[in-house]
């Protein structure tokens, strides 16, 4: 397969602009400034690129939502919050090839008419932030950023904005609240950010990996990109692989790769010679797959959706056959209870309650009716009464664990302790 994102990750000093330029960094810009913004948007639409931040929305279509008659400033925001448990791919792009991110942002800004762009990066990523700051400085010095870029007449500033430890700030409207200097509270949609985003101006929020695909699409054409992957999931996907496997790490795979192949050929199989009990393919917000389900599912949006889960942000983690699924759900729900922003009562109260029940079952004090109670609380948080889909992101794994590994929960309750010891 052809590598779109990782082809220069092995190059020493690829972070430095002089080295990156030798490997084609910023070479797409000449072509870009010879095109109209509309042509670029059409090219991205034709490529079939879908967002890599979790929801998989078509990128070109999203860019096209910026109102045509708009008189206000337009903003591009690169969502580098990356806080979904299991996901660490965006960090690797920044550490290995930061100029690819900046190049993608320049093209996207030109296409949507933005002259100011922000990289919203989670506060914990201090070193990656320093790397990006250095890369931005280099790009300014070479005239790829600032006024009249490469004599095109196009001006663009890119700034970083550091978050400070809040998962919800990855949700695009919470991100905007945080960027504007307040609590990371999600906002009701519509209006969507493309109409009224940062400072009530049209705003496009894209994931780091999404934007990193753009230089390839411009250089090689939409058709070349569309040829990679599947019908509905074009291109490659960065998978962050962790858990009970022999070779964790970030892997670029062609969309459509069977999970079985990924596990056996890329990840070196399950550690300690054990077997798979469950796989979460797309990050903690989605339902786990059983071994049988995983072995007939592929890594692309449609196959994962058909299996009742999602490719999400590509946070792929594996549980071996000695894993206590009750304990894992306890960890999962602890996360969501900690991270609810607290604006909506069903989510604020429900997440705490769900986590409390999960903890109770794990500690051996579960009651028979607790499983139905968990299901009830879940259906009450995802009743469409919450401001954002965080509530869904919490309920989906809980419902998935209960459906697929119910016998383990029942056994826990019956024995009053963990059968795994």
């Amino acid at each position: 397969m052809e590598y779109v994102l990782t082809k220069n990750w092995h190059v020493p000093d690829q972070r430095k602009i002089s080295v990156a330029e030798k490997n084609d960094a910023y070479s797409s810009l000449k072509k870009v400034f010879g095109m109209t913004p509309l042509q670029i948007i059409e090219e991205v639409k034709a490529s079939g690129l879908r967002g890599r931040g979790g929801a998989g929305f078509a990128t070109g279509i999203k860019w096209g939502f910026i109102p045509k008659d708009n008189k206000k400033p337009v903003y591009l925001i690169n969502n580098f919050d990356e806080s979904e448990p299991g996901t660490f791919k965006d960090r690797m792009i920044a550490e290995k090839d930061p100029h690819m991110i900046i190049e993608g942002m320049i093209i996207a800004s030109f296409a949507i008419g933005a002259h100011t762009a922000f990289i919203y990066i989670r506060g914990e990523y201090h070193r990656p932030w320093e790397i990006l700051e250095e890369a931005l400085k280099e790009a300014y010095a070479k005239g790829y950023l600032g006024k009249n870029i490469l004599g095109s007449g196009f001006d663009l500033d890119i700034f970083t904005h550091r978050g400070a430890g809040a998962y919800i700030c990855g949700e695009e409207t919470a991100l905007l609240s945080s960027l504007e200097g307040g609590r990371g509270y999600p906002r009701i949609k519509p209006p969507f950010p493309a109409i009224a985003g940062a400072w009530a101006c049209p705003t496009i929020v894209n994931n780091v990996e999404t934007l990193s695909n753009i230089p390839y699409i411009i250089n090689n054409g939409a058709a070349a990109f569309k040829k990679i992957g599947t019908e509905k999931s074009a291109g490659t996907k960065l998978m962050s692989a962790s858990g009970h496997i022999n070779k964790p790490g970030v892997y670029e795979v062609e969309m459509g790769l069977p999970i079985r192949t990924f596990l056996e050929e890329h990840l070196g199989g399950v550690w300690k010679g054990r077997k798979v009990k469950g796989v979460v393919p797309g990050g903690s917000s989605f339902a786990p797959l059983t071994n049988e389900e995983a072995m007939r599912t592929n890594l692309d949006f449609e196959s994962c959706a058909a299996a009742g889960t999602s490719l999400g942000s590509g946070g792929f983690y594996v549980m071996d056959d000695t894993t206590c699924m009750v304990r894992l759900l306890q960890f999962t729900t602890k996360f969501y209870a900690h991270e609810s922003c607290g604006q909506c009562t069903p989510c604020r109260e429900g997440s705490g309650w769900i986590s409390k029940i999960a903890r109770r079952i794990e500690s051996g004090n579960g009651r028979e009716r607790d499983l139905n109670l968990l299901e009830d609380v879940c259906s009450n948080v995802v009743n469409g009464r919450t401001i954002c889909v965080f509530a869904d992101a919490m309920a989906m794994p809980v419902q998935g664990f209960l459906k697929k590994f119910r016998h383990e929960f029942e056994e826990h309750i019956r024995l009053g302790k963990c059968p795994h010891g």
């Binding site: 400033p73 990356e82 806080s83 979904e84 448990p85 299991g86 996901t87 660490f88 960090r91 100011t116 989670r122 506060g123 914990e124 990523y125 201090h126 070193r127 500033d157 700034f159 904005h161 550091r162 978050g163 400070a164 430890g165 809040a166 998962y167 945080s178 960027l179 504007e180 200097g181 307040g182 609590r183 990371g184 400072w199 962050s240 692989a241 962790s242 858990g243 009970h244 964790p248 790490g249 970030v250 903690s284 946070g315 983690y317 549980m319 894993t323 304990r327 894992l328 960890f331 999962t332 996360f335 900690h338 991270e339 922003c341």
Partner: protein, 157 residues
């Protein structure tokens, strides 16, 4: 205990103001500057920022407390944050927390008596492939085991 930015930080602050169409947006970066300068966000520093940014101290307090990384009280010199989230737990992060508690003689959320270390257990730090891991101040330490932890702490006198 009044607070004021150093000359250098004042300059950085002025730079932040130029990035955004509204002053208020400079709040998160300004809080980072305060924390860098004195290690935590004191009431005096919030008053000070309120003056600079035309915000109420209440807004600043309310915002700062929403985020887990702003220290609302002084903490130890080396802030150890152990990732204790889903993927790290699969590879033994609870053992790391237990070991550090024993070794430092503190509970999670406490600083050592000599104020050298502060221990926290946090949610996903985005380093799942190198679990278990911890962050100490700005750096990640990965693929931890007890011997490695001993060695790391030894170097952080």
């Amino acid at each position: 205990m009044s607070f004021e930015f150093t000359i250098e930080n004042k300059q950085r602050f002025e730079g932040y103001l130029k990035r955004y169409p509204q002053k208020k947006a400079a709040l998160l970066p300004s809080l980072w500057l305060v924390q860098e300068q004195q290690g935590w966000i004191s009431p005096e520093s919030m008053e000070y920022l309120a003056g600079l940014l035309d915000l109420t101290p209440a807004h600043i307090f309310e915002t700062a407390t929403f985020y887990t990384m702003y220290n609302m009280k002084p903490i130890g010199k080396h802030h150890i944050q152990v990732c204790n989230s889903i993927c790290c737990c699969l590879r033994g992060s609870e053992g790391v927390v237990q070991y550090l508690k024993k070794k430092l003689g503190v509970n999670v959320g406490e600083s050592t008596a000599d104020k050298r270390f502060h221990l926290s257990a946090v949610e996903c730090l985005g380093s799942c492939g190198t679990a278990p891991m911890m962050q100490i101040n700005n750096d990640y330490y990965e693929d931890l085991n007890e011997a490695k932890i001993d060695e790391i702490l030894e170097k952080l006198k």
